[in-house]
Symmetry: C2
Subunit: 487 residues, 2 copies
């Protein structure tokens, strides 16, 4: 009895250094526990320090990485928050997971951690093995080529380039580059640097570097004052909820968006700026958690193909299980695989999977100094093994059902406050009345011990780790209820 009581305490207590098993959950505290308002006085002091060298206005609190564990983020003031945002959706296994600790504790990994190679010229046997044994097994069906990269933006930028090169290659019809192409390219001019475009969607987000930003349309503040490309943006469906009561109207919304996609293909072809590829998120995330139906994506793929363009699905935020499937686009039953799929965030590194035809024939066209990173692949391998061993995608699907049912229930109780509940897996969201209500609600939730994320103008998004369980969902739902009551 004493032993079991001790073990129980040990589970409740925060035991950082224990690595005797992969279960990070046994090390978690029993629930959130707040000491101060967020940000607390110590966070404020550090934020003040940070402001001396950079714009720190986006800082929410200063993180205590040593004390954070599993689903719980601990800040430097000792506040313990249940974190359903997980570093902008980028931690697959939560904080301080033993499986990832072991990567860094294993002396056999030391050389891979210490020496960051230029993989494009000097790959390592370990990295080649990682490509084959870590990346390939998770490749979307039919996409057998993989290009490792570093972050979401550079994954998208390089996937855009791969689409442009694929398009030009097809139309060059096996011919060598012309003298005119070679010369004009060095001055950013056509035909070497042709006028071609990538279609994206209003409300979409694909990153903030110049190419990615030209396809990002979530908020003006990301784009203002930065020159861009004349690339078309089509509307992305804005459904009425609940879906089951608005089927006819939502099907019409799909029609409207797809009709505009077709129009834009034709319009940009007419003005000699043909669309070579379409980039789309399976769920528009940063833009406000907007969903498209399987029918929408199926027809988008068909239209894209008819127009001689490539379909790139950006799974930077959706990939690796949070929607209840490994890749979110698996929910769409596409007749064939998309042409390219980009990934990052939970993968801790970036890259893209592609059909063989999207691989340039010449070297150095998709290239940079690092081309990925072996150290990150070690982490990814540990993540993927844990996801498999602990069946975390299946459990995320089940937890998601509980979470979404709970949100729907709250929406019924607070119909003036919590609207349009939606989601796949734990990748859930709801809208609030307006931005100021939403922002106020998030602050109060945070002060009640739940760290959530905003997206779009009025939405709240859930991006918990894959170790988020029904128990955690219930803690969040209870707190949501408490805070909603006070509104």
């Amino acid at each position: 009895m004493r032993t079991s009581r001790l073990l129980q305490l040990r589970g409740v207590l925060h035991t950082r250094s224990s690595c005797r098993g992969n279960s990070v959950l046994s090390q978690e505290p029993s629930g959130p526990k707040m000491q101060t308002q967020i940000p607390g006085p110590k966070s404020k002091q550090f934020m003040h320090d940070l402001e001396k060298t950079q714009n720190a206005l986006s800082t929410i609190f200063v993180l205590d990485v040593e004390k954070s564990i599993g689903n719980y983020a601990v800040d430097i003031d000792g506040n313990i928050m249940l974190d359903v945002y997980e570093q902008i959706a980028s931690l697959a296994l939560g904080y301080n997971h033993p499986a990832i600790q072991k990567v860094f504790q294993n002396p056999a990994n030391l050389s891979q951690l210490v020496n960051r190679p230029a993989l494009g010229v000097h790959p390592t046997p370990q990295f080649i093995k990682q490509i084959n044994e870590t990346l390939l097994p998770i490749a979307p069906k039919g996409l057998e080529h993989v290009q490792p990269m570093m972050c979401g933006s550079c994954s998208n930028e390089n996937a855009f380039k791969a689409m442009c090169i694929w398009h030009a290659n097809k139309h060059r019809d096996g011919k060598a580059f012309s003298e005119e192409e070679l010369k004009s390219s060095m001055h950013n001019k056509s035909p070497g640097c042709p006028t071609v475009s990538i279609m994206s969607f209003e409300g979409g987000f694909h990153g903030r570097t110049f190419g990615a930003l030209a396809c990002t349309h979530s908020k003006p503040i990301h784009k203002l004052d930065i020159p861009s490309f004349d690339w078309p943006a089509a509307p992305f469906p804005r459904y009425k909820y609940p879906l089951e009561e608005n089927q006819r109207e939502n099907a019409k919304e799909d029609e409207r968006c797809l009709a505009r996609v077709e129009e834009l293909f034709h319009a940009y072809k007419s003005k000699n700026n043909p669309v070579v590829g379409v980039v789309v998120e399976p769920i528009q995330s940063e833009g406000g958690d907007f969903h498209g139906s399987p029918a929408f994506f199926q027809r988008l793929q068909k239209i894209t193909k008819q127009n001689d363009a490539a379909l790139l699905i950006d799974e930077v935020q959706t990939g690796l299980g949070a929607t209840g499937k490994f890749w979110a686009h698996e929910h769409f039953n596409l007749p064939e695989s998309p042409d390219i799929v980009t990934f990052s965030k939970k993968f801790q590194t970036g890259g893209y999977f592609a059909k063989a035809e999207y691989q340039p024939k010449q070297p150095y066209r998709i290239f940079n100094t690092w081309m990925g990173e072996p150290a990150k692949m070690l982490v990814l391998d540990a993540v993927l093994k844990t996801v498999k061993q602990e069946n975390l995608i299946e459990s995320t699907r089940k937890t998601g059902d509980v979470l979404l049912a709970g949100l729907k229930d709250l929406s019924k109780r607070y119909p003036q406050l919590i609207l349009n509940t939606r989601g796949r897996g734990t990748f859930c969201a709801f809208d609030m009345t307006n931005a100021s209500v939403r922002d106020k609600y998030l602050v109060q939730m945070r002060n009640a011990g739940i760290q959530m994320g905003a997206c779009g103008d009025i939405a709240v998004r859930f991006r918990p780790a894959l170790v988020f369980t029904e128990k955690h969902a219930n803690i969040v739902l209870d707190k949501m209820n408490e805070v909603a009551k006070s509104f």
Copy 2:
């Protein structure tokens, strides 16, 4: 005697796991030792494997990271090569340096290695300390703001954005964004996304993502088929060597280039595409190791300022000591500091230093999920401490003198083969008669145990680590002589 003999053997022998001191040199082999041609049969097998999933035509050999040590890269076939290219100039301390090993072996670092935070929203106290105590002490004079990033391309892309925002902000004169700006930005249109440009130089290299690529003009293969911006590229000096015999002509070359810079400023202003910033490498590296004189850079800074534009010096390849100064632009005695300086490669992470006025006033304008990485800052801190403790910049300057003198000597002996020797510190280069001779020479050097890098059409570049000493320089010079003899 026995002990000393054993110790000597130990120095010659490759002792990977020894960490009893920071001197990586004591663990090095006594010289290159080749077993096969490059790539050897095992490398070829791995390259064949790699080709199944990606274009592997840029692969030179497959690296054995466990056996590589100090200045010596060992490949998977057991070939020991003296490496003067060091993973495209990205390893400051060579392979398996004990100081970097300790970063990963220190249990106190574990949480920082395991948990990659979204630093823009949840920085850690350790990261804020690293900014203040690791990054700020190396800031170019007058650049007290620092924006951590991840790689060279995203550092440049974000520095470009900072220049565009700075320019717009100045002309907005404190006014809020207009309704028209907000709306038009969401469709990539002016005035929200204005037509403004960044001037770069012919032969320059700043990365391969869309914005960076628009400023890259080193080789057509990087740019072909990728849409670009109408941004101006000015000529960068192409000097006659030896410099001391061609002073008048080279001064004229500066004039020619700077006159064109001024012309382009005016031309792009006239066509309502004003230049908001100029990006330049202190030494054009990828493009062929072309140098500009201090006078060129001083006048470039003056002209840029007169034209209401920002001067960004891209030190991604030159930063961190290889030229014999911490920042290469310190060689130019600029009357004031440049406005922005970007860094990456040897830093193992990226970012930029900037004057305070280049920091956007609003959050989320320079932002991404990761915004740098604490794990990499731990490595950088170890690198910088080692550089200081072992006085590596001073020793690099001295080694560089020996190397350059040796190259000049070889150039006299082989005036038909080794031309235009030039360099600062160990950041040295020479030209060869043509590309096919250069490529053949590099292959033979590699097979003789010296791994060097090509750049531009006909150049060979030296990019050794900072632990490259006179002893290593002499090994390289001797092999260069041997191989040159056979031509």
